[in-house]
């Protein structure tokens, strides 16, 4: 399988709509970088959802060599629109890569606007995660307008798409392949590359045979307790 791990910049940002798979991809991307011996932190900037956030797997990530920066203690269990100062500092100054796992949609990605100044001082790479099986991003046209909304709200320039088509852990390869052309069409219209694809690890190799861009095999961390 082709390697997806070419983070050219210290700051790597994942944005996208609710439930597009940003967190799952950020976690797996960070873990893969750490496995290569890189110094990696992951900033959980989700201020809009109360569950299925990267802070929930902080200990698991630590074992994989990824430092999760997230509100601590009681504040971990809130969805308040605030980012603790130590996280802001770490994003600006942490050595090694910092992966930014941002909340969904216009509302969740607005938090990135706060880091606008830092982004101007230092270059970054930002990717838009998309799953056409999700509402509001099921056609190329919808994806294009969703991306524009988030670029404006987050004040970031999106460098490419991450194709993450799936219908949950029971998805088959056919479910993934059905939506690959939708992501490809959106990428063409947006004049931006598909940076990589993502698929549950048992399907990644099969998907790689069908697409030319690399495929990130996913370990699924964001599952309800009865599936973990």
């Amino acid at each position: 399988m082709r390697t997806v791990l070419s983070a050219a910049h210290r700051l790597v940002v994942f944005v996208g709509n609710y439930g597009s798979g940003k967190t799952e991809i950020a976690l797996n991307f960070a873990a893969a970088l750490a496995a290569l011996g890189k110094n990696v932190s992951l900033a959980d900037l989700d201020t809009v959802t109360p569950a299925f956030r990267s802070r929930d797997v902080k200990a698991e990530m630590a074992r994989l060599g990824v430092r999760v920066l997230a509100p601590a203690g009681e504040m971990a269990n809130t969805d308040l629109p605030s980012i603790p100062a130590e996280i802001v500092g770490a994003i600006r100054m942490a050595p090694g890569h910092v992966i930014l796992d941002v909340g969904g949609d216009r509302t969740g990605s607005r938090v990135l606007g706060f880091f606008h100044e830092a982004f101007f001082k230092e270059d970054y790479e930002a990717y838009f995660v998309v799953n056409p099986w999700r509402p509001f991003t099921s056609t190329a046209a919808q994806i294009e307008s969703a991306l524009a909304v988030i670029e404006a709200s987050a004040r970031v320039r999106v460098d490419g798409l991450i194709g993450n088509p799936h219908l949950g852990p029971q998805s088959g390869l056919a479910d993934i392949l059905e939506q690959v052309p939708v992501v490809q069409e959106a990428a063409v219209n947006l004049h931006r590359p598909v940076k990589f694809w993502a698929a549950a690890k048992h399907l990644a190799a099969a998907l790689q045979e069908k697409v030319s861009e690399p495929v990130l095999p996913l370990e699924l961390y964001m599952r309800p307790p009865w599936e973990r």
Binding site: G19, P50, D79, L167, P225, W226
Partner: protein, 356 residues
């Protein structure tokens, strides 16, 4: 919009409501269900419906009273503290026989509590909630697909009985994603007529929607007619589901999120030869007493284990039905803590050891 989709519970129930013909949503945001108003604010204008972010939950329920009284299919959604604020209006709607759908994505309480999943509002949903002699049909989905289906039924039942219907989930069911297949959009012209609605009295006698009646003998007659509806609901609307119950000696009784945990726990202990099964109420009210009594009368069950994300609320209904014929045990996690399959499997194993 595609028919097959991957959806969060909160999004799925909102889309399902629109498919069921809901064209009026009022609400006030509260975690863990704010995706519902957010989704509605986006979708209602697309289907020619009305979305209102009300100034409060009290305003919300009164908007439902008005729009429901005028004949629209209406709904709101909230989470525990917000549902508490709506109770007065729910009682008014039941009294005035105004249909409407209420969704409660329960969170940890009492008081402001936390924003994590809970089932602490069972009593509130099934035993009154507001004042006066009334009942709500309370539907408790165990998956996102079932949530979609029960939302259709919720609107139909509300209209059929001219009574509010409540759908209860929790923060977990609201936030988790599962693949769903959406039913087609209902043709609004095929919905049942509402000759009682306040649609403008031109050319006919006035319709009046009101819950005030100062003559106790007249009010008593009205409450008797309400009771007749509730009796009919009890006789015809009980629903439940079972899993591996045919040979079960230990029967777990659980609904919603806990029923999912229970299924995993039952699978685990079955692997060790423990004959465990699940009884899952789908209607919390009317309580599925007929089916549960049949399980008791089968004579196979040696113990019930009621598992809830509360300190023990549904267990009272289980005990009433079981009536002391079989021991009823309890396991609860609450205040926002979701039990794991492993810990519930441990409880079943301990119970099995006691039986021997």
């Amino acid at each position: 919009m595609a028919e097959r989709m991957l959806m969060k519970g909160n999004e799925a129930l909102a889309e399902a409501a629109i498919r069921a013909g809901c064209r009026f949503y009022a609400g006030y945001p509260i975690t863990p269900q704010s995706e519902v108003p957010e989704y509605m604010s986006r979708r209602m204008p697309e289907v020619g419906g009305v979305f209102i972010q009300a100034e409060s939950e009290v305003a919300t329920v009164n908007m439902l009273y008005g729009a429901g009284g005028a004949g629209a299919r209406v709904m709101t959604s909230s989470s525990s503290p917000g549902i508490s604020l709506m109770q007065e209006g729910i009682s008014y709607m039941a009294g005035a026989e105004v249909p409407g759908v209420f969704v409660n994505m329960m969170r940890g309480g009492p008081g402001l509590g936390d924003i994590s999943p809970s089932q602490g509002d069972y009593f509130q949903a099934t035993k009154g909630g507001g004042h006066g002699d009334y009942r709500l049909i309370v539907l408790a989905p165990g998956s996102i697909q079932e949530m979609v289906e029960l939302m259709q039924d919720a609107f139909d039942l509300a209209d059929k009985y001219r009574n509010p219907v409540m759908v209860v989930g929790d923060g977990m069911l609201g936030q988790m994603m599962e693949p769903v297949t959406m039913p087609p959009m209902r043709d609004l012209s095929t919905l049942p007529a509402k000759p009682w609605a306040t649609t403008g009295a031109a050319g006919r006698k006035k319709n009046i929607i009101n819950s005030l009646e100062l003559d106790p003998y007249v009010l008593e007659k009205h409450v008797q007619s309400l009771k007749a509806k509730f009796d009919q609901m009890q006789a015809t609307e009980q629903r439940h589901d079972t899993y591996l119950i045919d040979d079960a000696e230990i029967v777990v009784v659980a609904y919603g999120t806990v029923s999912r945990v229970a299924r995993s726990a039952i699978d685990a202990v079955r692997g060790e030869g423990i004959k465990a099964g699940l009884f899952r109420p789908i209607t919390l009210w009317p309580w599925p007493e007929v089916a549960l009594a049949r399980v008791v009368e089968s004579g196979r069950v040696k113990a019930f284990l009621v598992a809830e994300m509360s300190t023990g609320q549904m267990i009272e209904d289980v005990r009433l039905t079981v009536s002391g014929r079989v021991p009823v045990h309890f396991y609860g996690r609450y205040a926002g803590v979701v039990p794991t399959p492993k810990e519930l499997a441990g409880v079943i194993q301990n119970l099995q050891a006691q039986l021997k």
